[in-house]
């Protein structure tokens, strides 16, 4: 059973009085443990697709099922709860809470969830900070870190609740290519380690090459879903 499935999903935006279709009749299913890249030029609908999967937006038509829940049947509060329990987010511009330290940023989702004692919480946060290689900066504020370091913190934050799916919107766009590749490698490592499903958007072919599958989008339509090897081959080529 797929962890995410979209059935005939359309999403329209209003731009003034004109309707701008962002997604048209998209049907897609993503399995557990995939490391999926959504590729396409800017304005193709990548972000819209991620937003729908990430339960931060709802479709104009069609069905989006995340975990085993149909998002259109959920209330705002239930959607929020679903994001908290099932999803992790990595943003293009990192989006750390500036007034919290690295440790506190990573701890934040755990505090929202509740249920863990302080010690377990600290242990889990530290373990993740070790895993992303940023433990030495635990007490620093985000503003004291480089872009790559911040994105590592963001990855730790996305993974700290052990979500089923991590969504990453252009996670390397604000990083230089070397750092970007490091980040993708880190994500891949996490994907392998815990079996977490990663879905990330990018228009950088080098980043795409790391994916296990690529979904190509153009003009709001699903153009292709390429297999792992083909994608890998394309990347190596």
């Amino acid at each position: 059973m797929p962890i995410v499935s979209l059935e005939n999903v359309s999403k329209d935006y209003m731009l003034g009085k004109t309707v701008v279709p962002a997604l048209r009749d998209v049907t897609l299913s993503i399995d557990r443990g995939e490391f999926l890249s959504i590729a396409g030029p800017s304005g193709s609908g990548k972000t819209t697709l991620l937003n729908l999967v990430g339960c931060v937006d709802t479709p104009t038509a069609g069905r989006v099922v995340v975990g085993d829940q149909d998002t259109s049947t959920l209330s705002e509060r239930e959607l929020t709860e679903l994001r908290l329990r099932t999803l992790g987010f990595i943003f293009q511009s990192f989006n750390l809470v500036s007034v919290l330290s690295v440790f506190q940023n990573v701890e934040f989702p755990l505090l929202l969830q509740g249920g863990l004692a302080k010690k377990e919480r600290a242990a889990r946060v530290l373990e993740l900070l070790e895993a992303v290689g940023i433990a030495a900066h635990a007490r620093h504020r985000p503003s004291e870190l480089s872009g790559g370091q911040r994105q590592r913190v963001a990855i730790a934050r996305a993974l700290v609740t052990r979500p089923a799916i991590v969504l990453a919107d252009e996670p390397t766009a604000n990083l230089d290519s070397a750092t970007g590749e490091n980040i993708i490698d880190l994500m891949k490592e996490m994907n392998r380690r815990d079996g977490t499903t990663f879905i990330f958007s990018t228009h950088d072919p080098k980043v795409m090459a790391h994916a296990s599958a690529i979904v190509r989008i153009a003009d709001g339509r699903l153009a292709a879903r390429e297999a792992v090897d083909a994608a890998a081959a394309a990347g190596r080529r």
Binding site: T47, L50, N51, G54, V56, D57, E76, R77, T80, E81, R83, L84, R85, L87, F89, F91, Q92, S93, N95, L96, V97, S98, V99, L100, Q104, F108, P109, L111, L112, Q113, G114, G115, A117, R157, D169, E170, A173, N174
Partner: protein, 710 residues
């Protein structure tokens, strides 16, 4: 549970760190809230203190707790006078009944009758006083009383009068040199001038003893009227049951003389009135200069003080007039060494030196005046022990006048210097009724007796023509001839001079109560139950059909009473405007802050933060600022109030303030109420102004976190 606590902790942490992260914004919001809270605390403390001061002043001087007056009255009761003079009140015809009914209402301790009005008081002139003294001496000489004492007194008074005539002659000569002598009254003027010239000749004074009475009469009728100083003054008085008055108004005290003996007629003159209107002008000005100097003013630097010094120099003639030669010589003897003057320097020059006061010599000269001069002349035109004539237009239109003895000077403790309360004199109820022109029971009976004796018939106005001229038969009415029995008219029980008798007579409580009053003050056992008691009093009035209106002390005080209400409105408006502006500024700053944090809020929402967490975070932020700076403002306000107290309070610079502050300065007291209220207001405003930003924050969707522009 643990989860909830963790969430609250992280919420507070983010909120507080946000506040600290934008110190400038927090500082500005805090400053606004601090100032607001400060204004409310200081303002309401001052206002509360003023309220208390006014309560003391009004309740303790005239107001009591409640006042009743006739409901048919045209005007409202204004105890301290209104813009249009005295209140137009219909009289309470039978005060005894009102007292009987209202005394029975629970919580009513005392019912004090009152009648407030203004009257004219003849103050006489210095000429009259000197002439009266001379006539007294002359009478004793004519009666054969002959001793060196009487002789020297007579000679001194004669010389005094001669000097006065001399001075008057000079003054009028000066006036004639600039006046138009050809006017309408030219003939009169000429006659007066001739009389004055005659009076200022050596022959007149040398021959004075040949016909003392005729010469006195000449001076009294022809010369004295030319000295036009101080014919009369106006006196504001309350006619009341004097004993009840002193029991009801603890601030009232007699500071000179004694109380009017129980049940007797008499008047206690308001001390401040005496100071301002009856005191020798030079003495009054010296007092005023001293008072200003005590408050830190200096003659050298203050235009008004300099003017007073100048006026004092021109007031010397008045003092010379008041001193007979014997006393004048005594004064001169004492002044010469004290002022370091040469032997033989005349009194006028000495007084000139005395009143030419500077900052250096003022204290000494002031003391000298009160030691050497004041005891030797009449300092007040009306003094304790005098019997004065008071005139007032009565209710029925004619002028009534009475003679009452001045038993003392009256003041109200704490508000001695206030013209509002200090102008008030207190008179017995019966004299008031005489002046007011309403019949006392005894007068009514007297008139009834007179009518019976003289056969007068009461004639109705409508039937007057018929009754007086007859409808038919004869034009000549019957007249009942009879000898007029004067003793019977006056009344068999009171032979002799009735006027002297009136002053000595002791009236019973029934007589004091039985008759007219204009209003009545109610004193309550427990002033805290004022509203309830007012209700009970109204019910009793309704039940007994007394036709009275009940007002509380504040309303009864009229314009003065509205002062605090006015202040309250002003403060309230100021606070309202301030907080309206504060609301806009805080709101604006919070909106800006929220918009700046849209991405962060979006991120938090994406991570799974519920809306209420975000809203709570914003409200905690602003509430924290509100509490911290509100408390800070309250503490500063308390400090300011303390500082005002230490610095000697807020000075009462005007008469109204003196009365309202119930003393020369207001010492604001910090209450728990103002602090609590100010915190509540500040918090309410802060939270209100954060509501719109909170709505904006609530509308932030997780999508905002995704937007990649940075």
């Amino acid at each position: 549970m643990a989860g909830r606590r963790d969430r609250v902790r992280i919420l507070l942490r983010i909120a507080f760190r946000n506040l600290l992260a934008s110190k400038v914004r927090t500082g500005i919001l805090g400053a606004i809230i601090l100032v607001g809270s400060l204004i409310v605390v200081v303002g309401s403390s001052v206002l509360d203190s003023i309220d208390r001061g006014m309560r003391t002043s009004i309740q303790g001087s005239l107001g009591g707790h409640l006042q009743v007056y006739d409901a048919r009255s045209e005007g409202a009761l204004e105890l301290y006078g209104g813009l249009r003079g005295e209140s137009l009140l219909e009289p309470i015809e039978d005060f005894a009944r009102v007292k009987a009914v209202l005394s029975k209402v629970p919580n009513v301790k005392q019912v004090v009758p009152m009648g407030i009005d203004q009257a004219m008081v003849a103050t006489g002139n210095t000429f009259d006083v000197a002439l009266a003294r001379l006539r007294d001496d002359a009478r004793r000489l004519e009666a054969g009383e002959d001793s060196p004492g009487v002789r020297s007194g007579y000679a001194a008074h004669l010389a005094h009068l001669r000097r006065m005539v001399g001075l008057l002659h000079q003054e009028i000569a000066q006036a004639r040199s600039i006046a138009d002598l050809g006017g309408r009254d030219a003939a009169d003027r000429k006659r007066e001038w001739e009389a004055l010239q005659r009076a200022d000749t050596a022959e007149f004074w040398d021959g004075f003893d040949r016909d003392r009475y005729a010469n006195l009469e000449f001076l009294e009728n022809r010369v004295a009227p030319l000295a036009m100083d101080n014919a009369f003054t106006f006196l504001r008085y309350v006619g009341t049951d004097v004993d009840a008055f002193f029991r009801a108004f603890p601030l009232a005290e007699v500071i000179q003389g004694e109380r009017i003996p129980p049940g007797q007629r008499g008047i206690l003159i308001g001390k401040q009135f005496a100071e301002e209107w009856l005191k020798l002008k030079n003495a009054r000005r010296l007092d005023q200069i001293k008072e200003r100097r005590d408050r830190g003013k200096r003659i050298a630097k203050d235009e008004e003080l300099q003017r007073w010094v100048r006026e004092n120099r021109s007031g010397i003639r008045d003092i010379l007039l008041k001193l007979d030669p014997v006393k004048a010589e005594e004064v001169a003897r004492e002044l010469r060494p004290a002022l370091g003057a040469a032997e033989g320097e005349p009194l006028e020059a000495l007084l000139g030196r005395l009143f030419a006061t500077t900052d250096e010599n003022f204290a000494r000269h002031y003391e000298l005046f009160y030691r050497s001069i004041a005891p030797r002349l009449r300092l007040y035109q009306i003094d304790v022990g005098d019997t004065i004539t008071i005139k007032a237009p009565s209710k029925s239109g004619y002028f009534s006048s009475i003679n009452v003895k001045v038993y003392g000077f009256l003041q109200f403790k704490g508000i001695e210097k206030s013209g509002i309360a200090g102008m008030m004199s207190v008179m017995d109820m019966l004299s008031f009724r005489d002046l007011y022109g309403y019949l006392t029971r005894e007068k009514a009976e007297e008139i009834k007796r007179l009518k019976a004796t003289m056969g007068a018939r009461e004639v109705e106005r409508d039937a007057a023509e018929e009754a007086l001229f007859g409808a038919g038969n004869t034009l000549v009415g019957e007249s009942k001839a009879g000898r007029i029995d004067e003793r019977a008219l006056v009344g068999p029980e009171r032979p002799g001079a009735p006027a002297a008798d009136l002053a000595a007579r002791v009236y019973t409580q029934d007589e004091i109560d039985g008759g007219v009053a204009l209003n009545a003050a109610l004193i309550l056992e427990d002033p805290g139950k004022l509203r309830a008691t007012a209700r009970d009093v109204r019910a009793a009035i309704e039940r007994e059909k007394l036709g009275l209106k009940v007002v509380d002390w504040q309303e009864a005080a009229g314009l003065v009473g509205q002062f605090v209400t006015l202040l309250r409105v002003v403060l309230f408006t100021a606070v309202l405007i301030f907080f309206a502006i504060a609301l806009v500024i805080i709101n604006n700053a919070m909106v800006m802050a929220t918009l700046q944090r849209v991405k962060e809020i979006g991120t938090m929402r994406a991570l799974g933060t519920q809306r209420r967490f975000v809203v709570a975070m914003l409200l905690v932020e602003i509430a924290a600022v509100g509490i911290v700076f509100g408390l800070g403002g309250a503490v500063l306000g308390a400090g300011a109030v303390g500082l005002i107290r230490v610095a000697g309070g807020i000075p009462a610079v005007t008469d109204l303030l003196y009365f309202v502050f119930s003393g020369p300065a207001l010492f604001p007291r910090l209450g728990a109420m103002p602090v609590g209220v100010s915190l509540a207001i500040v918090l309410a405003v802060a939270i209100l102004s954060a509501l719109y930003p909170a709505v904006i924050a609530m509308r932030v969707t997780p999508v905002e976190a995704m937007s990649s522009e940075d």
